[in-house]
Structures are given as structure tokens and as C-alpha cells.
């Protein structure tokens, strides 16, 4: 693997299972960031809890490894407090679509300039094999003993319909495509979602590497990323699963932080600002 500025201490004890899809993704992410020439001290990865959410532990960069489900509001606030930072929110399907489901809706409505990486393995890994919001119907688990009853959540359709300006699906088995999408997403000025198919070797015996290889295909080069309705329609294709940038809004939608009055005339991060006694005296008028 290529050496990057984002490599962590080589002696780090990595908590993932051998063969986990997170390993190739870690390499892909670091390479993408290196190729974008981002300074590790200007990058923040906000994550929650789960195997995917451990990712920043293994990347040499700033991170906020907070609570299960809450990486997105944290990321939104970090970007709002200092828009100069590059901010990534990262976690798994349970973390982002289950526990953090409400934030998923509202982060899209706000449209902060953050990249949202969701490792989607269609199962709970850290808690050992229960169904996730994206598990297919009928999947048997130690809890869903007769098979999953609920309809699987379709994150791409939800994102496009709520108004996300950048919506993509990647697969850790297609490194080249995944790296390119991550680079596009990080550079995109606005909220960018990448749902990343990422096999769980321990708990999802159905959706394996081989299964994903056989049940995915790349969107053709001729795909019109600017056509929202066609993109939405495309998200309903379940087998095989399309990979690529489904939708990228052609015109630029202003980001959340760009629209905050605090940055209307002064672009400096909040921490550099002061408030004078004269300003405060006005509060006593």
C-alpha cells in the first residue's frame, strides 16, 4: 500500500476481524485524502460507535469519536464553528441510518459542506450479527430468528428525495471507483453521501465479497448525474446494485455554514473572534 501522511502508528492494534471490508476501505480513504493533498491537521473525522466508526482511530488526523448515531450533528457543528476545516462523518449503517436516522434526514435538509461515509454491510457487526436498517427481508439473525420482517431502508432514495446534492454508492471491492467517488465527494461543496457496500465477513454470510462482486455493476460513463428523477428511479434497482455517483446537482446549492449570518462579512472561524466590553454595554441599554 502507498505510504501517506494519514498512516497511523504501524504498531496500532486494529480491532477489525481478519478479512473485514474496512481494511481495503482504510487504504482507499487514506490514498484519496493524500491525492487531494489535504493536511491531516486541517481534517476532522467525526464518527460514532461500531466497527466502521473505529476508522478514524487508524487514520492520522483530528477526530471526534463520539456517541453511537451522533457523528453527523457533531460534524455539522464542527464545520459551522470552523468552515476552513475539511470534515468527514463516518460510520456504519446501524450508526447512521438506525440510531442516527433523525440526523440523517436533517443533515440533508441543512446541507453542510461535509462528506458522509456510511459503511453499509447490511448487518450489525460490533453487537454480533443482528439486523441493521439495510438488512434484506427474510435475513435470519440471533434476534430476527424467523427472518427480518421490516422493509430494508433505501438510503440513496431517501437522500435524493430529501434534497441531498451529491449521492453515491461505492463498493470496497472496487477500489478505483471508491477512491474516485471519495475524492469527488470531499471536493464537492455541500453535503455528499456515499453509501459504501462493505462486506462483513463474520456476521453476514449472504452478502459476501463474492455476492457483491456478482450483484453490482458500475453506472455507465454516459450516466447523467444531473438528472434527479432518473437518479431516484435508479436507486430502486435492487439486483444488481448500481455503483457510482447517482446524483450530483448541476447548480450549486449554498451550504449550511455559507448561509449563517456569522459568516456573511467575516469568514474567520469562531475561535479567532472576540467580543468587546463596549458591545456588551449595549445590552444594558
Amino acid at each position: 500500500m502507498t505510504k501517506t501522511r494519514f498512516d497511523c502508528d504501524p504498531d496500532t492494534d486494529i480491532a477489525w476481524c481478519p478479512g473485514c471490508g474496512n481494511y481495503p476501505l482504510l487504504g482507499i480513504l487514506k490514498e484519496a485524502l493524500e491525492e487531494l493533498d489535504i493536511d491531516p491537521s486541517e481534517l476532522v473525522i467525526s464518527s460514532g460507535i461500531g466497527q466502521a466508526a473505529k476508522m478514524p482511530q487508524y487514520v492520522h488526523s483530528n477526530f471526534f469519536n463520539g456517541l453511537h448515531g451522533r457523528a453527523v450533528p457533531v460534524a455539522t457543528a464542527i464545520k459551522a464553528a470552523n468552515p476552513a476545516l475539511t470534515v468527514i462523518a463516518e460510520g456504519g449503517d446501524g450508526d447512521m441510518y438506525g440510531e442516527g436516522g433523525n440526523h440523517f434526514i436533517h443533515v440533508i435538509r441543512r446541507n453542510p459542506d461535509i462528506t458522509h461515509l456510511v459503511h453499509d454491510n447490511m448487518v450489525y457487526g460490533l453487537t454480533q450479527g443482528q439486523a441493521s436498517p439495510t438488512s434484506p427481508k427474510g435475513m435470519k439473525t440471533p434476534v430476527q430468528t424467523d427472518g427480518v420482517i421490516a422493509e430494508p431502508f433505501n438510503p440513496l432514495a431517501a437522500a435524493i428525495s430529501i434534497g441531498a446534492p451529491f449521492v453515491a454508492r461505492a463498493f470496497t471491492g472496487d477500489a478505483e471507483l471508491t477512491k474516485n467517488i471519495i475524492k469527488e465527494a470531499v471536493q464537492y461543496r455541500g453535503y455528499a453521501l456515499i453509501d459504501i457496500l462493505d462486506p462483513c465477513v463474520s456476521f453476514n454470510k449472504t452478502n459476501t465479497f463474492k455476492w457483491y462482486k456478482e450483484h453490482t455493476y458500475r453506472l455507465p460513463d454516459s450516466w447523467d448525474e444531473g438528472d434527479r428523477m432518473r437518479a431516484l428511479e435508479k436507486t430502486f434497482e435492487a439486483d444488481p446494485l448500481p455503483l457510482g455517483i447517482f446524483y450530483r446537482r448541476a447548480d450549486r446549492k449554498p451550504s449550511f455554514e455559507e448561509q449563517l449570518p456569522v459568516y456573511a462579512s467575516d469568514k474567520s472561524p469562531l475561535w479567532t473572534r472576540t467580543r468587546s466590553p463596549e458591545q456588551l454595554a449595549k445590552l444594558m441599554k
Binding site: 476532522v44 440526523h103 456569522v262
Partner: protein
């Protein structure tokens, strides 16, 4: 101290607020001190709301039962207030609204509708009442005209004119009311003072503490602070965001502090309950946090628009695991400003969550206080520039590690909700776990306590203990009792229990606890921390604040025992 108590009673949506705003401004501009408290029903229109305005020559901070003048604007306005009427009380309002009481009082019909017939009727009733009050308390009508013109300017010249006419007619009707206010006015009051609500005091204090980020989910009675910050966002450079839920709100706050902002949330008990996981996160990642917790009676939705001091236990014990925290509870509007400001300093210096514990009574009260001088105010940012070898959780003697933020310096800032190493990386090493726990728990060793204020004689036999918003009522009750052997200890820092508490309690022969909750939560905390118990507990939990008279009677009885 001479004071008058005017009570307004009306339905929600009838415009009590207009009278309150106008009259409070008039009073201050005319040289009076005033204090206003409200009791609302949980509805947007209808029901029956009451507002008490106390007019005085000195600062007043308390609610009294005594009613000198009751103005009834709607039906059934008297019945709910019967206990507060006496043969001295003047009750006025439309004749038809005065009949529903058998309690003897001096009823004076006020021809509101008839007086306003030609200009549009009862729509202007509130302005007419303002005129009536203006004349009764000899305020300057010119001031009122200016205020009316400003307030209704947007609605057009006709509306302004009608309001002024209604105001004048109200002034004329004052001759029919036999209330002769004899309160000394001091015209210098206006220049020296500021009229504000408890809500505004918290907002002003937060701005003085450097707050530049607030994320919150609306919940009464905490919402006002979010609205205050939003209305000052442009001028003071504040990010004010309505979060999708309380989970998002406090997590946003922590993200903002991490990136160098000075952030807060405002909420009430139910919302705070949802924030408790993030509170624990603040403890683990050693993030500063300021949380305004505005109490209302629980459990669950309880009495959403009333008051109680029922969430102290929640504030003290919320969050899984052990971590340090500080809780302040303002008793006066000055306290609101000072403690909100201080909350930011304490949170930042010690890297702990600080909870500002208020309640509906405190927030919705309005009063006149001496102006606060901010000329020496400095916002101390405890942020360090990082170097390549920076460790967010460096073990130090004080337990406090220099706080870096991303993008300032060339170091890396890692914060982790798992137990972590000095570098902020996940660990399961037992020795590191012990070292980190001990580090966190020693952080408050150098905290300068806000010691309780002792009011009254130092040689007390009886000590009355209260905290937060009961300040005004207890203080005034003891003044009225006038006994040299009773003192009042008012706690503004309720957690950690200040170091001086034990000695104060030990000196008393008799200890009386006054709390606005059913179990005496603070009394129990003091007992646990100081091993001293109370002889008498005066607990109120009907959703209302203590009145001065109630405490005069109860404390008077207790000291006879």
C-alpha cells in the same frame, strides 16, 4: 418598604403582554422599581392567565399574595384569584366580569367596551388598561405615547392614533379608581437601571461569557434563551441553530466546542433527559459544555407552563459513569447574568459540563436591576496552539490537559468516547483506565466555589436554607418577620456543595429548608454531603412559586415551636 401589587387577569391571546411591556417600561422611566411574575395556562388562546406587577421604591424580587388592584379582562378571572382578595382589594373590569365572587372586595366597574365603541372596541382594551395604570401611578404619558408610536408603527398611523386615544381614555377612567399610590419615585432610576426578564439575564450572561454558538430544540420554559440568542445572532456573531432533537443539540454543542466555539444549549427537564448520554460524553472527552436547564414540574410532561425546582437530582446524577460537573442556580436577575457568564469560564477552564439550573418562575419574571458594568469583562479562552507531539489528554497534576483545537497548530486533536490514552486513542489498558479516571476526577480540586450568601444576622439561631429562584420570597419574608435570630443562606452553586456549607449549617440551632419540590432534593444533597439534616422542611409542589406571605406564616410558625 412600600410596594403596590397590581394583578392582571385575562385569557391567553387577550394582550396581557402588551400591558406588561408598556407598563414595565413606563414604571422604570418614571423612576420606580418593579417586578413582574406570570402564571400561564398551557394554551395559546383562552384559559386564564395572571400577571402580577409589584411597584416599589426599592428593588423587589418576590411574588406576594396580597393584591391591591385586580384588573379583570375576561370571564372567570376572579374565581381563580379569590384566595388573594381582601376587603382592601380593588377589583375593576367590565361590570359583567365582576359578579362571579362572593369574597368581599371593592368592586369598581370599568366601562371598557363603551369607552372604546367608536374606535374599534375591546381590541384596544389592553392599551386602555395601560393608560389607567399610567395615571394611577402618575407616570409620564409622553413616554407612553413614544412607546406606543414605536410599538405600533408597523401597523400604520390609524392604529397608532387609536391606541393613543384608548390610552388617554384609560387615563381619564383612573379618577374612578380609589387607589392612591404613595411610592417615592427616583428619576435617576432609569439611567442607573435595566429592566429585563430572567430569560434575558441568562442570554446576556451567555453573551458576556463569549457564547457564540447555541443549538437547541424548543421546550418551555427554556426556549426563550434560544430566541434571545437568535435575535442577537447577527450583531454578536452567534450561530443559533434549532436542532432536530435534543440529542443533536448537545452533540452539536460538543462539536462546536471541539472546533473552538463557546457553545451552549437551552432546554427543560424532558429535553435534558434526552441529552444525558451526551452529557456523559462531555465528561469522557473532557469537553467544556454549558447547559441551561429550565425546570418545570414533572414527571414527564407534568405542568408544562408552571414552575418547580424538581430537576436538581436529575442535573446532579444525569449521565452514566463518574465525571465531574458544576451546577449553578441563579436567585436574582443579576445572578442570571453573572452565573451564565461564569458558566462559560468554569466550563472552559476546567473542561467540564456546567449546568445553569433555572425555572419557569425565574425565567418569566421581569424586574429592574442596577446596570451591570461590563468594562472589565474579558473572555478568557483556554485554548492552546498544538505542536506535532500534542497529546489531548496529557496527564497533569491538576488533571487539566491543555486543550487544543483542530486547525490551530500542527498537532492532531483526538477526542474519544471510549476510554483513551493520553493521545486520545482507544484503549482497554487497566492502568491507563485508572490514570484517566483519576485525572478526570481531580479536575475540580481548584474550583473556586460560589459560596452561599448569608443574609441577616451572623449570630443566628435559625438558619433558613434555599437555592435558586426562591431567593426573593425567602429574603422578603425574613425582612417582614424582622427577627435578629433568623438568617438565610442562599445557595447559587448547588453542586458541588460549596465548602462553606457545613460550617454555616453547624452554627444553627434550628435549620429550615425551603424548596419548590416534593422531596427536598437540595436538603437531601446537603444531608448527604454535610451529615446535617433539617428540622423543618417547607416544600411546595403545586406548580407555583412561594409567596412572601406564605413564608412569613410558615417560618413564623416554625420559629415559635
Amino acid at each position: 418598604m412600600k410596594s403596590y401589587s397590581v394583578v392582571l387577569s385575562g385569557e391567553a391571546g387577550q394582550g396581557l403582554k402588551t400591558i406588561e411591556t408598556l407598563f414595565m417600561k413606563l414604571l422604570r422611566q418614571s423612576g420606580y422599581y418593579a417586578f413582574m411574575t406570570k402564571e400561564l395556562m398551557s394554551r395559546v388562546r383562552g384559559g386564564n392567565n395572571t400577571t402580577e406587577l409589584r411597584i416599589s421604591s426599592e428593588p423587589v424580587y418576590a411574588f406576594t399574595e396580597r393584591t391591591d388592584l385586580l384588573i379583570v379582562l375576561g370571564k372567570n378571572g376572579i374565581r381563580r384569584l379569590e384566595k388573594r382578595l381582601s376587603s382592601d382589594t380593588i377589583v375593576t373590569g367590565e361590570a359583567e366580569h365582576l359578579s362571579d365572587t362572593g369574597v368581599p372586595c371593592r368592586k369598581i366597574p370599568l366601562p371598557v367596551e363603551k369607552s372604546l365603541e367608536d374606535i374599534g372596541g375591546t381590541l384596544y382594551a389592553n392599551t386602555l388598561v395601560s393608560g389607567l395604570l399610567c395615571a394611577l401611578f402618575s407616570c409620564n404619558p409622553e413616554t407612553a405615547y413614544n412607546l406606543i408610536s414605536t410599538q405600533f408603527a408597523k401597523k400604520g398611523a390609524d392604529i397608532v392614533k387609536n391606541n393613543i386615544t384608548a390610552f388617554d381614555r384609560g387615563m381619564k377612567l383612573a379618577d374612578t379608581i380609589p387607589l392612591h399610590a404613595e411610592i417615592k419615585k427616583d428619576e435617576s432610576v432609569e439611567a442607573r437601571s435595566k429592566a429585563l426578564s430572567g430569560t434575558e439575564s441568562v442570554g446576556i450572561g451567555a453573551l458576556a461569557g463569549g457564547c457564540n454558538f447555541i443549538a437547541s430544540y424548543p421546550m418551555s420554559p427554556g426556549t426563550g434563551v434560544l430566541a434571545f440568542m437568535a435575535s442577537h445572532a447577527d450583531e454578536y456573531g452567534v450561530v443559533a441553530e434549532q436542532a432536530e432533537d435534543e440529542l443533536a443539540a448537545l452533540n452539536m454543542e460538543l462539536g462546536a466546542w471541539y472546533a473552538g466555539a463557546r457553545a451552549m444549549v437551552t432546554t427543560s427537564g424532558g429535553g435534558f433527559a434526552l441529552m444525558t448520554e451526551a452529557l456523559s460524553l462531555a465528561g469522557c472527552i473532557e469537553s467544556p459544555a454549558v447547559i441551561h436547564l429550565a425546570e418545570r414540574p414533572g414527571p414527564a410532561t407534568g405542568l408544562p407552563t408552571r414552575t418547580e425546582q424538581g430537576d436538581l437530582n436529575l442535573a446532579v446524577y444525569a449521565g452514566h459513569g463518574d465525571f465531574p460537573r458544576v451546577i449553578y442556580a441563579p436567585g436574582t436577575l443579576q445572578d442570571g447574568i453573572e452565573l451564565a457568564r461564569r458558566a462559560f469560564d468554569t466550563a472552559d477552564e476546567f473542561q467540564v459540563p456546567v449546568i445553569l439550573l433555572t425555572d419557569q418562575y425565574f425565567l418569566d419574571s421581569e424586574g429592574v436591576i442596577p446596570k451591570v458594568d461590563f468594562s472589565g469583562n474579558s473572555i478568557l479562552q483556554h485554548i492552546t496552539e498544538t505542536t506535532a507531539d500534542y497529546k489531548r489528554y496529557a496527564l497533569t497534576k491538576s488533571g487539566i490537559s491543555p486543550r487544543g483545537i483542530p486547525g490551530y497548530g500542527n498537532g492532531i486533536v483526538r477526542v474519544d468516547s471510549d476510554e483513551h490514552t493520553e493521545e486520545g486513542l482507544i484503549t482497554e489498558d487497566a492502568d491507563v483506565r485508572i490514570a484517566m479516571t483519576d485525572k478526570r476526577m481531580r479536575k475540580l480540586k481548584n474550583l473556586k466555589d460560589v459560596e452561599p450568601e448569608l443574609i441577616g444576622s451572623r449570630d443566628y439561631e435559625t438558619l433558613v436554607v434555599g437555592w435558586g429562584s426562591t431567593y426573593g420570597a425567602i429574603r422578603e419574608a425574613l425582612e417582614r418577620l424582622g427577627r435578629k435570630d433568623i438568617a438565610f443562606a442562599h445557595f447559587r452553586q448547588v453542586y458541588p456543595v460549596p465548602k462553606g456549607a457545613k460550617a454555616l449549617l453547624a452554627r444553627a440551632k434550628r435549620k429550615i429548608l425551603v424548596e419548590n419540590n416534593v422531596t427536598g432534593q437540595f436538603g437531601n444533597l446537603l444531608k448527604q454531603e454535610t451529615l446535617t439534616d433539617f428540622d423543618v422542611r417547607m416544600l411546595k409542589y403545586n406548580g407555583m412559586q412561594f409567596s412572601v406571605e406564605e413564608l412569613v406564616n410558615k417560618i413564623g410558625e416554625a420559629v415559635k415551636l
